[in-house]
Subunit: 558 residues, 2 copies
């Protein structure tokens, strides 16, 4: 049997006018700001008016440590949303926006897959509603204003060697990673070293995704540290007087984007911060607005549960004052097999023993998630090659852990294939079982917070951090930043910092290479290993084959 | 009497839903791609279907050499459009989009002024419908692909010292004018010198504004020269395989943007190429589509008539196969006085003699415009301080030139104030008097084309160009580019290259400093004097005071 590609399925979608999708959430036409016929922003006025509504149930979709094949977290998020609607619930999904640049490197970027997708796929992978362009503009306005401030006399006495604010571009462009600016003489300013990151790595992106409203946005933008003086005191974006204009540039971008699933159910697609140096979740505004509009909100967090769900809980939920009522942990039989030691070429053969062995990774994530006080349902994202015995092996393993695994066929069947998962998730979310709390309090010292995550989530024996790093953390505590949560940046492929250590490793330590303060976003980034904030294009970039076909449709992007 | 500011007037506008504005042009809701409730793109399908419509009359608005006060070209364009509608004509205007970056330097950016404005002003001066962001992305994708091509083996054998394609950003950022890229080691590529221009200076912008459709767009993008090999043969964007993906990024940006005047009349605002190194007109797609939808289309060209109108005629009309039926030459009493030698502080005093003396500049523009075979109507853009005698002096002068000057009070009164101008312009446009032809044929040599413009328009005695420049032009002719038109880049303030020489100077020569080939846009840029392609921010940039007020309105941008 031949399966259709994601793009073929997406093209066959019968989309509702976005106003009809909005009507399902009781949003009037006047409160929708349309971008074409199939996308809209929800007006800030409407959001303000909906604050008195009762909150729906919040469902977080996360995953085991990913394998190269991908576990289908977004696909499951969308499928579960459709499944909930099919069983008569008023449900919507909240996911992140795609970054334009990387789509021109490697094919990719679909929002979900198979019959569990969000559309319009092409727009969402290109300019969409312009949010990322707005972030790029706001970020680079600040950059220009910093150099301009130095150029016209440097009243704030910025130490030119200590400008930490770089520039951003939504493009994979390795040539811009490290540059020298202001060459060419007096009228071009003072030469200095700098560089570009990709837009999703901007602190502005993280702030847009954590801010509650425009006032909060402007305050956080003003709080960003852009440079230091010779006496090491920080220079804030507010000192450069950039926060007002940046807020103006981000005014529209703060409004969540409404689109629809293939089954015409509403979805917010809004924000897309890096999942390493940032927290990797869609915007707080989108999630909180969705909770006011739907009875069930399904959202996801980047990477595996050790990184994504941990940050969702300890950063986003803590800051936004929200709490998940149920966590869905996505696993695949293929990933269990790989964790169980099966080589890539042999994944097609039934191997129940390997599946069971590989479940150790799954088991540890279940245990971790429960430690946040939230109930866990495992979703086995079905692949058509999975055998019944293999699926049963996962179910048995999870049952022995005191949880439940549900097979879900949303990729193949859409919402219909996710009905069983939806029923179980709704039951759990409605049960009141959840008693969420972050795993460390605000008052804990920064080093102890890192230690808590390392030991309780990663199961490391110890944190390795040299005196310089410890002193830096201590300095920030003295400056009043000790109450911030931690944003871990490490490999997504393992509980450890070694991507090849699959399963549920023990006996490792967590080496901290660097710490960074994101004073506007409001977290301390703890970097363990190499973090790339500007990707390059591959030898044969996707952009070489992306084009419009004779029907005006986009080819090569997906 | 206190006058309201442009922004106060714009905020009081009663905008129609954009669908109702579209309906005035017989565009159905389905053929409008809305961006919010007050902006929309006109679908490419609709444009294709409207090709069989009869063309309306084309009216070009241009001006005398500008003075620091500004002559009100856009204001007159909008006012004339409203005036035509008021006298019962089906008319629309076509103007350029504003560049985002410069608005954060100096206050400005309104589209028209007083009661002759196009709205929504704030959106149009910020992200609008994202066209410029799309151009930035397409341009920089090509930049990244060039460095990536070199990085992965340089199959095309690009001479790294001869990469002529730079990067762009829609921001005034002098620090990026000249940079060194790819520092930091092997994985970041090969270090080389480069820099950023402002987005409106991109050849991609010029192409978007000259392309007839998406096929033509892709062909032109592919034709752009991005670098040279050691043997001096050109490397095209097509060789880098970037043209397909760039076209995909520009697909939506190619569709004209529909907005409305304060009097709810339709306006296309589309494209915004530099008026020096490019041709400075709104897009061909917008103008040609407008001609299919309205009986009268009022459009404008950048700078004074010596630059803007000349390029409109010799580049845009020639390439697009369109021809103006009437030219409106905007003049102000203030500007005549300044041209007549009155100091800025004394402009408030009546001085009929100075007005008459200053009319020499106006007279030469009239003569020049007539040499294209088009009838000219002078619009005196009324300032409330003008005296009757001064206005009469301009009218008398123009009458003696065999043309007619009409006083227009659109700034103060909107379309009602432009009724007389509208009636006269409609009469002239309908009269069939126009017999347009460019002032040089395609077949003329490049050097002779430059000579023709210099002598017939600028009234220079000779063109000064050294042998290197003459050889370069000859080389391009040998390579098949001899049939291209010339795009002059010189000061807008004088017929000469000296901005201080006002009036109608003679006895000067035209020194050519540099020539550049825009092979995709399809013109040869002839640079006479300093051309800045990346502005800087002033000491106190507007961005320091731009902010949202307590009502969520933008302050400080206008």
């Amino acid at each position: 049997m031949a399966y259709k590609t994601d793009i073929e399925i997406a093209r066959e979608a019968t989309k509702l006018p976005i106003q009809e999708v909005g009507a399902k959430l009781d949003i009037s036409d006047a409160d929708l700001v349309p971008y074409g016929h199939d996308k809209a922003k929800v007006s800030a006025d409407f959001i303000a008016r909906s604050q008195s509504n009762k909150d729906g149930k919040l469902i977080l979709v996360t995953a085991i440590n990913p394998t190269p094949a991908g576990e289908g977290k977004t696909t499951t998020t969308v499928g579960l949303g459709d499944g909930l609607n099919r069983i008569g619930k008023k449900a919507m999904v909240c996911i992140r926006e795609a970054s334009l640049g990387p789509n021109f490197g490697m094919k990719g970027g679909a929002a979900g897959g198979g019959y569990a997708q969000v559309v319009p796929m092409d727009d969402m992978n290109l300019h969409f509603t312009g949010d990322f362009h707005a972030i790029t503009s706001a970020h680079n306005l600040l950059s220009a204003m910093i150099d301009n401030h130095i150029y016209w006399g440097n009243e704030e006495k910025i130490d030119m060697r200590r400008v930490v604010w770089r520039r951003v571009i939504d493009m994979n462009d390795r040539a811009l990673r490290q540059i020298t600016t202001s060459l060419g003489g007096v009228s071009n300013g003072f030469p200095r070293e700098s560089g570009f990151d990709i837009t999703v790595a901007s602190e502005v992106m993280a702030i847009l995704c954590l801010a509650n409203d425009l006032d909060d946005l402007q305050k956080r933008l003003g709080d960003m540290i852009v440079a230091y003086r010779r006496d090491r005191t920080p220079v804030y974006a507010r000192d450069i007087k950039a926060d007002g204009a940046m807020t103006v540039l981000l005014k529209d971008a703060m409004q969540p984007n409404l689109v629809q699933s293939l089954e015409n159910n509403p979805a917010f697609v809004h924000g897309g911060p890096f999942a390493n140096i940032a927290h990797g979740c869609n915007s707080v505004v989108a999630t909180k607005t969705a909770l006011k509009l739907a009875d069930y909100v399904v959202t996801e967090a980047g990477f595996g549960a050790d990184l994504g769900a941990e940050k969702f809980m300890n950063i986003k939920c803590r800051k936004a004052g929200i709490a998940p009522d149920c966590v869905v942990l996505v696993a695949t039989v293929r990933a269990m097999k790989m964790n169980g030691g099966v080589a890539k070429g042999d994944l097609g053969d039934e191997n129940v023993a390997a599946v069971t062995k590989g479940c150790a990774n799954l088991g540890r994530h279940i245990e971790n998630l429960k430690s946040f006080g939230v109930p866990v349902v495992v979703a086995i994202n079905h692949f058509v090659t999975d055998t019944e015995a293999e699926v049963q092996a996962v179910k048995d393993y999870v049952h022995n852990q005191g949880s439940e695994a549900v097979l879900s066929r949303h990729w193949e069947l859409g919402g219909e294939g996710a009905e069983e998962l939806a029923r179980r998730v709704a039951e759990v979310a409605d049960s009141g079982m959840a008693a969420f709390s972050p795993i460390y309090p605000d008052e804990m010292s920064l080093m102890d917070k890192i230690d808590t995550i390392a030991k309780r989530i990663y199961r490391a024996d110890e944190v390795l951090a040299d005196q310089k790093i410890r002193n830096q953390l201590k300095d920030w505590e003295d400056q009043g930043y000790g109450n911030l949560p931690i944003c871990m940046a490490k490999t997504q492929y393992s509980f450890t910092t070694d991507p090849s250590r699959r399963g549920a490793p023990t006996g490792h330590s967590l080496p901290v290479r660097e710490v960074r303060l994101s004073a506007g976003a409001g977290f301390i980034v703890v970097i363990c290993g190499e973090i790339m904030t500007m990707p390059g294009l591959p030898r044969v970039p996707a952009s070489e084959s992306i084009h419009l076909n004779d029907n005006g449709q986009i080819e090569g992007l997906f």
